[in-house]
């Protein structure tokens, strides 16, 4: 049973990590908590659903949904956050504006899509589980764990190993002076929105495939977990998001398996509050916490 | 001899691996105007942020009248009589000039929450006295006519003077002025200089950062020169401007000569 529970936890943790990656990247570079982020997850799942219902292969639908969500994220950022950046509005204004936008977008999606739960056509992917020494895993679960690892590696390379990453880090540290250093700030902001939105969209497709539970509000539920993951991992810390996602996923699963499933959901938030008390800069503590 | 008003003792701060202020020591004697000069990036504003408590030091000590203040938060230092202005003015945009000055009296004003809620006699008295003093201070910096204007709407030079009035409202033992003449036209600079001379005559201790060397040389009793985070020279104005190290690092030969010429 323990082996199976560890696999369960690994899958849940990878999902949390996948979801938190784009969220933390947005904060790390753009310096805003963008609450619309969870919405891209819902939209990604629905776009892929519609595509596959029209006979498109999931391997095409997945990148299509990711790109479309990235594009939506760019538009939302341009409409809501760019004006605030320009007006040098206080940091919390962007949090509030995305909060309102989230409510607006979910309400619209709910009206347009209804809250009925839906699933991918069963022919889209082989959903059956294989038995490995008594532990059952599905293809989708392998896909989720694999892509979480691969995407973290790719993002770390992008941020630390590429020329683009230098620009992104400059933008993160000194948004006003980055422009002076020949960094096209506007383009980088759009790029980060694109990547983050795409990550959320792809994550939505994978969740939809794994659980067969596609619903407009699916992103909202993930968002609450996302807060815990990015605080525990350290706001803006990509490696932290991976580790924190796995920790929370595993702890939740083990709590449900060996303590009580009723307190499972408290694990993430308990860790959130604990992190704030003990180590506000997160697991790795590398991110300079902005002090008041 | 009594302790100096401000004593900076082997102060160091590092950002990442870089030392922005590196083992600097100097003292500001009570009742003097002390200048802090040096090229851009020398660590002057960082030094101000260290003294006023916006940046925690990596090593060293800061003493105000012999008492260590380097572990205190900025508001704790303000209560002990340390006031400052900012290089890029920080106004409370929506407040009137009068309210702005009264905000500066925060730590000197004895108004408890219950007193304010019940509008007790003590509260009314404190508020009225503060108001009277705020009018005086506005008159002192020449802004009495602008008392009811939104401070964010005041012209640049007036905002600088309002910021000084706000700092004076704190009844400081030490006033830190970060480039008070920056962006001012010559006549505004002269008015400012007259204002500071008046404060100096009242015995206020001032530490100032300024790029206008004529202004600094005329006003200061003592000058400390920073370069790349280190102290490279200090002394009376005539000594500093003659110091070849300072001329080389900051002033340049031409400026140094012009400073020596009678104005």
């Amino acid at each position: 049973m323990l082996a199976q529970q560890l696999v369960n936890g690994l899958v849940v943790g990878s999902i949390y990590a996948l979801f938190a990656l784009g969220f933390t990247l947005m904060f790390g570079v753009l310096g805003v908590i963008n609450l619309t982020y969870g919405f891209y997850l819902s939209i990604g799942a629905f776009l892929a659903l519609f595509a596959t219902q029209h006979g498109v292969s999931i391997w095409l639908a997945l990148p299509f949904a990711a790109l479309a969500c990235g594009a939506i994220a760019v538009v939302v950022d341009g409409l809501l956050l760019t004006p605030l950046r320009r007006a040098k509005a206080p940091e919390l204004a962007s949090l509030m504006v995305t909060l309102g936008a989230t409510l607006l977008l979910y309400s619209l999606a709910n009206a347009a899509l209804s809250t009925d739960i839906r699933r991918f056509p069963p022919s889209v992917i082989d959903g059956s589980a294989i038995d490995l020494l008594g532990v059952r895993v599905t293809l989708t679960q392998c896909l989720i764990v694999g892509s979480a690892g691969a995407l973290v590696a790719a993002l770390l390379w992008l941020m630390n190993g590429s020329r683009l990453g230098m620009g992104l880090r400059a933008l993160a540290e000194r948004p006003d002076t980055a422009a002076l250093m020949g960094v096209n700030a506007g383009a980088l902001v759009r790029l980060v929105s694109m990547i983050s939105g795409g990550l959320a969209g792809a994550c939505g497709v994978l969740i939809g495939l794994n659980y067969n539970a596609i619903q407009p509000y699916m992103g909202e539920v993930m968002m609450l977990k996302g807060f815990a993951v990015i605080i525990l991992g350290g706001l803006g810390d990509i490696r932290g998001a991976l580790v924190a996602g796995l920790i929370i996923g595993l702890l939740e699963t083990l709590t449900a398996g060996y303590v009580a499933s009723s307190v499972k959901d408290a694990v993430g938030f308990a860790l959130l509050v604990l992190t704030l008390w003990i180590r506000p800069s997160g697991l790795f503590g590398r991110i300079a916490v902005k002090r008041a | 001899m009594s302790a100096p008003r401000l004593e900076i003792d082997a102060l160091t701060v590092r950002f990442g691996g870089l030392a922005a202020v590196d083992d600097v020591s100097f003292a500001v004697a009570s009742g003097t105007v002390h200048g802090l000069i040096g090229p851009n990036g020398a660590g002057k504003t960082t030094m101000f942020n260290l003294i006023s408590g916006l940046v925690p030091p990596s090593a060293g000590a800061i003493r105000l009248d012999g008492e260590r203040i380097d572990a205190l938060p900025s508001w704790g230092r303000a209560r002990r009589g340390l006031a400052r202005t900012f290089q890029n003015i920080r106004m409370f945009q929506d407040m009137s000039a009068l309210e702005t000055v009264m905000t500066g009296m925060h730590s000197r004003l004895d108004e408890s929450l219950p007193a304010a809620l019940l509008r007790m006699g003590g509260f009314r008295k404190a508020e009225n006295e503060a108001l009277a003093k705020a009018w005086e201070l506005l008159a002192f910096v020449g802004l009495a006519d602008a008392a009811h204007r939104r401070s964010g709407d005041l012209p640049y030079g007036d905002q600088r003077r309002l910021e000084i009035a706000r700092a004076l409202a704190l009844e400081p033992r030490l006033l830190l002025l970060d480039e008070p003449a920056a962006g001012m036209n010559p006549s505004e600079t002269l008015a400012l200089e007259a204002l500071l001379e008046k404060l100096k005559a009242q015995g206020l201790t001032i530490l100032l950062v300024e790029h206008d060397m004529h202004f600094v040389m005329r006003l200061c009793d003592e000058i400390t020169v920073l370069n790349f985070g280190r102290k490279i020279s200090e002394g009376a104005p005539h000594m500093v401007r003659a110091d070849p190290v300072v001329v080389e690092a900051y002033l340049g030969a031409k400026v140094a000569r012009s400073l020596e010429a009678p104005q």
Binding site: E91, L103, A111, P280 | W75, R79, M91, T103, A116
Partner: protein
């Protein structure tokens, strides 16, 4: 009493009570926003007040005034625990920590036998009414006006405009932030207790994230130039779905759109008038 007046009062009783209670909630949000902080835990504080008061009334029949007092103290304590670690961090942390508080509380309510789990608590006697609700709102308004026109009000506005400069003038930033959060939690707790005692039934879902966002939208729409503004915002947003029933269909859309539009285009809210911050006559002495 003539029948039609009686009918009128009956018909609009819940609405009239909601106006007052939401006004109190808007004020609880105002205290925090007024010094530049953001709490998304107002609904959680409200729920805490509601549950504590309902349990005290139902289980041990405590006197109503005592019940209200307890409903303010318990959320205050929670505010201390959640608020304290975030005070020296950027404002984002408080916002996230208060969301966390709401979730932890929801899980507690759902799993505790005492609170009736998802079934909530029903049969709470009607003890609140016009006097307790509007009396509380009136007292809170007067108190906020007096506080705004004192050194405390000046310090709060200074913090909102420029925290750094306020600190350099001697404003004890963490103390102010914590005090504001505690007062805000007390007010929300009071509102929750009053609400529980006029609706007779409470359950955990009443105090979720959506409720927190609604409370924020009251204050944002009204503005924070004076304590009247958030109350106005609460009144408008409470009446809107009643007056425009067709809008009720799109309540989420309307609330969301209001927040977005106000923050971007009208950061001062509807009521832009800014109350003075001096508690005496500001006439120039001759």
């Amino acid at each position: 009493m003539p029948e039609f007046i009686d009918d009128f009062l009956f018909t609009y009783q819940t609405l009239v009570y909601s106006l007052g209670i939401n006004g109190l909630l808007a004020l609880s949000m105002y205290v925090v926003l007024a010094l530049g902080q953001l709490s998304l835990g107002q609904a959680a504080f409200m729920g805490m007040g509601a549950y504590v008061s309902a349990l005290l009334t139902v289980k041990i029949g405590a006197p109503f005034l005592l019940v209200l007092l307890a409903a303010m103290l318990v959320p205050a304590l929670a505010a201390l625990i959640v608020g304290a670690p975030t005070l020296r961090l950027s404002g984002v942390y408080l916002a996230l920590a208060t969301i966390g508080l709401g979730e932890v509380q929801r899980i507690f309510f759902l799993n505790s036998e005492l609170t009736g789990g998802a079934l909530g608590l029903s049969g709470i006697p009607m003890k609140g009414g016009l006097v307790s609700i509007y009396g509380s709102l009136g007292l809170a308004l007067v108190a906020f006006i007096f506080v705004a026109r004192s050194k405390i009000g000046r310090a709060m506005e200074a913090m909102r405009e420029d925290e750094l400069a306020a600190g350099a003038l001697g404003v004890d930033l963490p103390a102010y932030k914590l005090a504001a959060l505690v007062v805000s939690a007390m007010l929300a707790g009071l509102a929750g207790a009053l609400n529980a005692h006029v609706t007779s039934f409470i359950s955990p879902e009443d105090y979720g994230f959506h409720a927190a966002v609604s409370i924020l939208s009251y204050a944002l729409l009204g503005g924070i130039g004076s304590p009247f503004a958030p109350v106005l915002g609460a009144f408008i947003l409470t009446l809107l779905p009643e007056v425009l029933r067709s809008l009720a269909d799109f309540r989420g859309v309307v609330n969301g759109a209001i927040i977005v539009l106000v923050v971007i285009f009208m950061p001062r809210g509807l009521m832009t008038w800014r109350m003075g911050r001096i508690g005496a006559s500001t006439r120039r002495p001759s």
